[in-house]
Every structure is written in C-alpha cells, then in structure tokens.
C-alpha cells in the first residue's frame, strides 16, 4: 500500500512574512510628473487615506510562499479525487496550453466581430455540439457555472408561463435527492419549492409526484441518472405527466458522464438543460472555479435564451441579440470563454468516442461499487440490485452504530491513504453517505487501491476505532476545529480578525 505524506510547511500567512526586503514589483515612472499633476488637482477626499496593509515582498518570497501553499493542496494531478457529483476527471495538458494562447486571453470582449472570428467559430461549434449531445436545439454559453445555468432555466420557466398569461404557475418540484443548487435556483427565480421523495428502488417516487402535481406546477427539476447514480426508468411517463399539466421539464446536466453518447435528455422529454463544462467536458475546477456553464433548450424556448448567442449569417460569425423573449443577460459578455475553449479541445479530440467516456465511467463505477458493497458495516443506499451509472452512494450508518466511526471519520482516514475523500453527507436522503465517482480517468489499479483503502479503514474501525477517529495524520494538518471556526466570538474570515483575537482573546 502506498504511503502518503503531504508536505507540511509552517508557512506564515502572507501578512506575517519577512517584510525586511521592502520590495515591490517594478513600475515605470515615465508618467510620474503627469501623476503628480493629476493628484494635485484631485479633491483630497477622493484620495486614499490609509495605505492598505499589503506587505512589500520580493518576487522570490512571493513565489516560494505560494509554491509551498500549492504543495499543501491536492488535485487530480496528484491522485484520485472521487468526489461524487463533481466529475473530477483528468484535465488534458494540451487544453491548458492552447487555451492560454494570446489570441484567446488577450481578446477584448468589445472587439469588432470581424477580429474575433476564430473564437466565435469555436463558440458556435460548441453551441452545436452541446445541442447534439443533449438532444436539444439551441444553446447559450453565457452562464459562468452550472448554478447560473440552472437559474437561467428557472427564469425561462417563469417567463414562459407569464408570457402565456399563466400567473398561477408558482411551484417548482424538486426531488429531495437533488443537488442543493436546484432548490436554491428555483427560489431565486421566485418559485415555491415542492419536495418529492425517492422510492426504495432509488427512483423518484412517482406516486408522490402525482400527488403534488397541480395547475400550480411550473416545472420539475430532475437529473437522470439521479444523484444516487440510478437511471430513472420511468422518465418518459414523468415527462408526459408534467407536460400534461403544461409544466416544463428541467434537466440538471451538471454531470453527463453516465450517459454521454448513449442517452440524450432531449429524447427523454426534457425541455431545458444546463451543463457544467468543468465537469463532463474536462475544464479544470480551479480549486473551486472558474467553471463554465451552458444552457440548452428545445426550439420552442429558443427565444428565451440569454443574449447574445453566436450565430452564422452565411458569411461570418456574429452575436445575436434579437431573441424576442430573452430572460436577459445572466452575466456580462459571453460566458467563461477560456474553459469553453478547453472543453472544445476535449470534444474535438474525442469526437464520437465521447461514448467511451460514459461507458468506462459506468464500468468503473460498478466495478468499485461491487467491491465496496461487500464491506462490513457498509451498505448500498436504495436500488438493491440495480446498476449505477456515473456514481454510487454507500451508507456507513451500520459502521457508525457498531463502531462509533462516522462517514466523516472514514473520509479523513482515506486522506491518510493518499486519496481525496468522496462527497460526504450528500445526497441528504442517505444517512452517513459517501457519494463516489471515479470517472473514466482512473485506472483499474487505482480503483483497486481505493477499494483496498476503504477495506483497511473499515477493518480498522472494528479493531481500533480510535485510530480512524484520530485521522488524518499524514496531511499538512490534523483534524480542524470547525466549531471554533464558526463561533461568532472566534470567527476569523480575514487576517485582521486573527490579529484582534491574538490581542484580545475571544
């Protein structure tokens, strides 16, 4: 078994660093006379009164500081990051290199379209490709992330009903197992969120759905395969039910890894979908962002998309602003173009073999699921005997009861074994949950190693639970005190608070 030791630097916070060098990044003084003149004419009260507390360091100090911090971080390039729902696949290096070309990163968004035909062609092709992949008719790339795409979708649903004079459509149905951004986006669009449970087979409880369906229903937000990794086999019936009430079907397409090239949301009856290019289409996650979203719709909703979208007028690529029922701009400019370019390279490279991405991610998932489902204290949540798609969820409820070791403890012990932990305590319908997604990027050896790590931890939980509970010990720091971190008296969201606490105590 691989031994993992994360770097551990006692790295001071930036504000505590040396400071003896008193250097700054060189700035020319060609215009210092002009600056003086401008400053002398400016009203005093618009000028800065207190110098900001940024230390003045040499470049060497800054580079070492952040390089050390990078060594105390962990991404896909170091090992598996099996976070369910997050699709942490490999980020090809060629995409990084190409997307940093000056002819992308130095483009100004207000340049004349004649001077940006290359990037517009890329965006146009992406709109087409994503329509084809999702089975939709038109896409906008403007949402800067998945949640923003959801919000657009919810706004489209709202506006669609209002345009029909249907002011009573005030409810959005969202499964309890849905990602938290679904209900949050619905609420932001002004909907009342109506929850529905999951049936024991792991699918949406269709009787519960029928019970809440009414003329107030504006739409349903669903992801299929759902967050348990289970395919909603009654999806056509669900779509018919919703459409029968003049409600729209919204697909949370953050993660298409389970169905890419095999099944398309548009064919299932969905009207609107958002995509996360930073999940399925390999744009890196950046330690939390930036991502890139896309929102795609069936032709009847095209006029509702955010503007502008990219179009081809027969001669050149142009921005179209004239969508008659547009929900408006969800963000300024045209979306997060750099990640869009990276996803373009991913799709261009794989082409029709995108299907293999889904096939291998599903194969990998089920291969690992089989290994974990047999472990002591571990149970598969819902859907007994069903195959999963891109991810699966196990529960450590029994382990907790029998040993006192929780899902969180298991996660921390996995860190010690060189794996990032999976998503924990989600979906909320599963107690002591681990939601695991290895994607197509993990080799059989790595999946075996992860399964072994799980086995080792679970066995340890039964023999020496305190060893699991005291993990992690191989990471840069040990278990952190979350209560202190969140307590109003000791809250420290900036360095000023740290200093104040030092001086005054909590």
């Amino acid at each position: 078994m691989m031994v993992f030791r994360q770097a551990k630097w006692d790295e001071p916070v930036l504000f505590e660093l040396g400071g003896s060098s008193k250097q700054t990044f060189a700035v020319d003084d060609e215009f210092s006379g002009e600056a003086e003149e401008a400053l002398s004419k400016a009203p005093r009260h618009v000028l800065r009164s207190v110098e900001p507390g940024i230390p003045n360091l040499s470049e060497v100090e800054v580079v070492r500081h952040f390089t050390r911090l990078s060594q105390m971080s962990y991404g896909v390039d170091l090992g598996p990051v099996p976070l369910g729902s997050c699709t942490m696949k490999y980020n090809p290096k060629v995409s990084e290199e190409l997307a940093s070309d000056r002819r992308i990163v130095d483009l100004h968004p207000y340049q004349d379209v004649d001077s940006v035909q290359g990037v517009l062609e890329i965006m146009y092709l992406m709109q087409k490709w994503l329509s084809e992949i999702t089975g939709m008719d038109e896409c906008s790339l403007q949402p800067p992330a998945g949640a923003a795409g959801e919000f657009v979708g919810a706004l489209i649903i709202k506006k669609y009903h209002l345009d029909k004079g249907n002011t009573g459509k005030v409810e959005m149905i969202v499964p309890e197992a849905a990602h938290g951004s679904n209900p949050a986006s619905s609420a932001m669009a002004g909907f009342k969120v109506v929850k529905i449970p999951t049936a024991p087979d792991g699918e949406t409880d269709i009787e519960a759905l029928k019970a809440v369906l009414s003329d107030s229903t504006a739409g349903l937000m669903l992801t299929n395969p759902n967050t348990l990794g289970i395919f909603e086999s009654k999806i056509v019936e669900i779509s018919d039910l919703l459409h029968g009430r003049d409600a729209l079907m919204y697909y949370d397409g953050a993660n298409l890894n389970g169905i890419l090239g095999l099944v398309r949301p548009g064919d299932m009856g969905f009207d609107i979908i958002h995509l996360n290019l930073h999940k399925t289409f390999s744009a890196p996650h950046g330690g939390g962002g930036p991502g890139a979203g896309a929102v795609c719709v069936k032709s009847g909703l095209k006029e509702y998309l955010p503007v502008p979208i990219v179009d081809f007028d027969g001669r050149k690529y142009v921005f179209r602003y004239d969508l008659s029922r547009t929900v408006g701009r969800i963000s300024w400019f045209y979306g997060n173009v750099v990640p869009i370019v990276k996803s373009f390279i991913y799709i261009a490279t794989l082409g029709p073999s995108l299907r293999e991405v889904a096939e291998l991610s599903v194969l990998n998932t089920n291969y690992l699921m089989r290994k974990l489902a047999g472990l002591r204290g571990v149970s598969l949540a819902y859907g007994e005997g069903r195959w999963r798609k891109h991810e699966f969820v196990v529960s450590f409820e029994k382990l907790l009861k029998e040993t006192g070791v929780s899902a969180e403890d298991v996660a921390k012990a996995l860190l010690d074994r060189g794996f990032h932990a999976p998503t924990i305590y989600f979906p909320l319908i599963v107690k002591e949950a681990h939601m695991i997604e290895v994607t197509e990027s993990e080799s059989k050896e790595n999946i075996d190693a992860l399964a072994n790590a799980y086995k080792e931890v679970v066995d340890l939980a039964y023999s020496s639970p305190e060893l699991v509970k005291s993990s992690p010990t191989n990471t840069s720091v040990g278990r952190l005190d979350v209560l202190t971190a969140n307590h109003p008296k000791t809250l420290a969201p900036t360095y000023r608070y740290v200093e104040k606490l030092k001086d005054e105590g909590p």
């Binding site: 504000f15 700054t24 020319d28 215009f31 002009e34 401008a38 618009v46 000028l47 900001p52 940024i54 230390p55 911090l69 971080s73 962990y74 990051v81 002819r103 130095d106 483009l107 100004h108 207000y110 004349d112 001077s115 035909q117 290359g118 990037v119 084809e132 998945g146 949640a147 706004l155 938290g180 619905s186 609420a187 932001m188 086999s233 890419l260 095999l262 398309r264 299932m268 996650h285 330690g287 939390g288 930036p290 408006g328 963000s331 300024w332 045209y334 173009v337 794989l350 082409g351 029709p352 932990a421 924990i424 059989k444 840069s476 040990g478 952190l480 971190a485 969140n486 969201p493 900036t494």
Partner: protein, 460 residues
C-alpha cells in the same frame, strides 16, 4: 480507446466486464427504455478521434482568424488590457491548485484554503471592509448578488442605480432581480460632472429603497467625488449603499469602505487576470458588517481556526449554513462553483505589488489617464464627454461623426479603442471610451491621438 481513458483498452475493459459477470457494457444500461438509447454515433468534433498534434493544428488554424491590437489595446468598458506578471501565470499554473476541487476536505487542502483566506484578507483591506467572500463569478454577478442581499436584508424591493454604472452590470442586475420582483430605478447623471446627480437621488430616495448602487471610477472613467454624500443620503432612509470599484484604482483612490459604504463590489480583471474575451475573471463582494448582513451574505467564506488539539493553525470553509448544499431553497444564493483560481491570481498579483507597488501602479495609470485627457483636449474635433472631471483609466470622448465608424477605421490601422457607446444607448452613438493602462507608453498615446486626428480631422 484513448489515453485519457486508462481502462479503455480491450483487455482491461474485458477484465472489468468479466468481474461484473457481463458480456457487454450495454447490459449496464438495461434499465434505460430501449427507445431512448441513441442508435448512432454523436455528430460532434471532426468525425473521429484526433491525435494531439492534429488538434493543435486545427486549433491554430481557427484562432489565427483572431486579431489583436498592434499597440497595447485602448479598449475599455469595464475590462482593460493590463500586464499579467509571469510569476502570477506560473503560480496559478501549479496543477495542485488548478486541478483541485472546492476545498471540502480542509486537512488536505490547507494551501488552497490559506491562499483564499489571504485573498479575502487582502481584498477586505483594499476595499476597507470587514469581510470579503472567496469570490463571485465576476463583477456583474457580484453586483447582482449585492443587490439581492440588500433587498433581503432590508425587506424592500426598490433599488436605485446610477446611470453611470456599467450598462451590462445594470442588465445583469435586472435579470437576476426578476425572480425576486426587484424594482430598478435609474438615477440620472449630472451632465456637467459626469457623476450621479445628487438632486435626482434625493428626489427618489424613500423608505421603500433597499439600496443605492454607484460606481467609481464610473463607466465613463470619472472618479465620483460625491460618493460620501451618496452614502450619507442613503443611510438617511436606512438603505444600504453599494459601491462598485476596480481594485487597481484603490492604490490611489479612497477605499469605499472607508467612505462608509456598506457593500463593496468589483472585478479582479487586470489584477493578475487577462481579458479572456470577457471571462473568466472573479467578482469581489464585501460587507462592512459581520453580524446582520453577514447572515445574508452569499458565497463561500474561508476562516482561520486551529486543529482540534489546539496546537496548530489551520483554515477551513466557514458559515456554510448560508449555502445551497445545506440551506437549499433558503440559501443566501445558489452559487456553488465560483472563481477561486482567478481570486488566487489576484492575491498573487497583490502580493507581488505590495502596498507600495499598488500605489505606484495606480499612479502610473492615473498619470497616463491625465496625459491622455490633455492630449485629447488638444484635438479640436474631439470633445471629452466630461472635460472637468477627474478620470482614472478610462475616458469618454465624443466625435463629430458616428463613433463605431471612427473606431473601425482605427482598428483597420491596428489600433483598437472603444467600445462605441451607441451599442448601449442610441443617443450616445457619437461617443466612445478609451482606456489606458501601465502598458501604454507616451508614444502609444501620441499615436492614438494622431490617428484620431487623421480620422476625424484635426480642426473643427
């Protein structure tokens, strides 16, 4: 088969299938209604898998159709071309950072968490506020979130927005405010000063107003000298003041928090982040209150803490009970993925600059703006939109003819400036923006002015 997919070789694929007792991968999809299974290949990409060098060639052919300004770009409109230090590029290219997910497992992500904590601390200092979150998508969505937060906190729906705010920011606020039923009211411009009109503001303030939104330096590059008065007036009706500022202006200009702003907003583009054709960048959002407003604050926050044994310092995400993954429909925002890497870039750039470098960079930009204003004033055929105002980075100009046409002619000579303001407001069709940054030399600015003189005529 592809080498980005380790198990895609027939041997390994076969092993996995055998282990599961399957003959074909299609058996894993037996629960999908057969009529839903796609019976053909996706029509995406270029018909087949491409070798890396083929993709590189194809990509280069495509982007060779993009053109760049021959001298540093004079284009403005919220985003301007600045120098991105090599050290910033090198550090954000560390794949420990860029291939990481959101730091949900704090113990294995201390470096990333500390860097984001430093970002929050640096920005809070720069803007003179108590708390800044770990980033929004960009300045426009940070603005929308600020307005929504104010409406929630004040339980009021009316928002006053100065006409001198970036028009696309206003559009984004309108889109985001639709669901919450926000009412956006425009506060007019003082035509002399190019700033928000205080008299118009006073006439529109009432106890139904949740917030007043102003920008300085504003969309026309004018440094608004009335921000303090705006804030005072806003507080008189117990509303929140929201001030949008570019971080690079804050080396020389007063921090909005120090002027009494309740909420500050901005965008890091230019501070370690390139133009990127408009995105990504990162949105700055901060508040001057760590109690009431903090409860309504959207987005991720990192905090300092200690290990459970009390021995070491560490960092972790805090106050997550405001966020969607816990609070769901009652969350303060739906935001999940943000713009951490661009926030990191901004933090690295600020660290390189230091307080002294930031001031010098601010002066370098201010000096160039002043020089540009003086040079343009000498052109009789070109008028400054607001000749009496103090400008920073951007300057609004009026041409004797259609601005879009003038700017197109300039571009055909390899000099990019703009945007023309007609694209935002019909009545400003003869106006455009010009932006100068540390990248411009005196000769660059003279070249621009000379070319403008040729295009629109030196005389009246």
């Amino acid at each position: 088969m592809h080498n980005w997919i380790p198990n895609s070789s027939p041997e390994i694929r076969g092993e996995l299938l055998r282990d599961l007792g399957l003959k074909d991968v299609s058996e894993l999809f037996s629960d999908v209604p057969p009529q839903l299974l796609l019976a053909r290949d996706l029509n995406v990409g270029f018909g087949r898998t491409l070798a890396e060098y083929e993709v590189v060639r194809l990509f280069n052919t495509l982007i060779s159709k993009n053109r760049l300004s021959e001298v540093p770009s004079f284009m403005g409109g919220g985003l301007c071309q600045h120098y991105v230090p090599s050290a910033v590029k090198a550090l954000v290219s560390r794949s420990e950072f860029y291939t990481a997910y959101t730091p949900y497992q704090a113990e294995i992500a201390q470096g990333l968490l500390q860097a984001l904590f430093e970002y929050q601390s640096l920005m809070a200092d720069l803007y003179g506020v108590k708390v800044v979150n770990a980033s929004m998508y960009n300045g426009s969505t940070a603005s929308a979130e600020a307005v929504l937060m104010a409406a929630r906190a004040k339980k009021r729906r009316r928002i006053l927005i100065s006409e001198s705010v970036h028009p696309e920011v206003v559009e984004v606020i309108r889109t985001w405010g639709f669901g919450a039923g926000l009412e956006l009211v425009n506060v007019g411009l003082d035509r002399e000063s190019g700033q928000i009109s205080l008299s118009d503001l006073r006439s529109k303030l009432s106890d139904e107003v949740a917030a007043v939104f102003v920008q300085t330096p504003n969309f026309f590059g004018v440094v608004e000298s009335v921000v303090r008065e705006v804030i005072e007036e806003t507080h008189r009706v117990n509303a929140l003041s929201i001030v949008y500022t570019h971080p690079l202006a804050l080396g020389v200009l007063e921090a909005p928090g120090a002027m009494g702003a309740d909420v500050v907003v901005g965008d890091v583009q230019g501070l370690g982040v390139g133009l990127n054709f408009g995105g990504p960048s990162a949105g700055i959002l901060g508040i001057n209150d760590d109690k009431e407003l903090l409860r309504q604050f959207p987005g991720r926050l990192i905090g300092a803490t200690r290990t459970v044994d009390g021995r070491e310092r560490g960092f972790t995400m805090i106050l997550q009970t405001r966020e969607q993954h816990i609070k769901r429909e009652r969350a303060t925002s739906n935001i999940t993925t943000n713009a951490s890497l661009e926030a990191l870039a901004a933090a690295v750039h600020l660290s390189l600059l230091g307080s002294k470098g930031l001031r010098r960079l601010g002066e370098a930009i201010l000096g160039r703006t002043h020089y540009l204003v003086k040079s343009l004033s000498r052109l009789e055929s070109v008028d400054l939109l607001f000749p009496e105002a103090l400008h920073f980075r951007e300057v609004g100009v009026r041409f004797p003819v259609n601005a879009a046409q003038v700017l197109r002619t300039l571009a055909s000579r390899g000099v990019y400036a703009g945007p023309d303001l007609g694209r935002f407001r019909g009545e400003l069709g003869d106006c455009g923006l010009v932006c100068v940054t540390e990248l411009h030399t005196k000769r660059d600015i003279e070249l621009l002015v000379e070319l403008l003189g040729e295009v629109v005529g030196r005389g009246g």
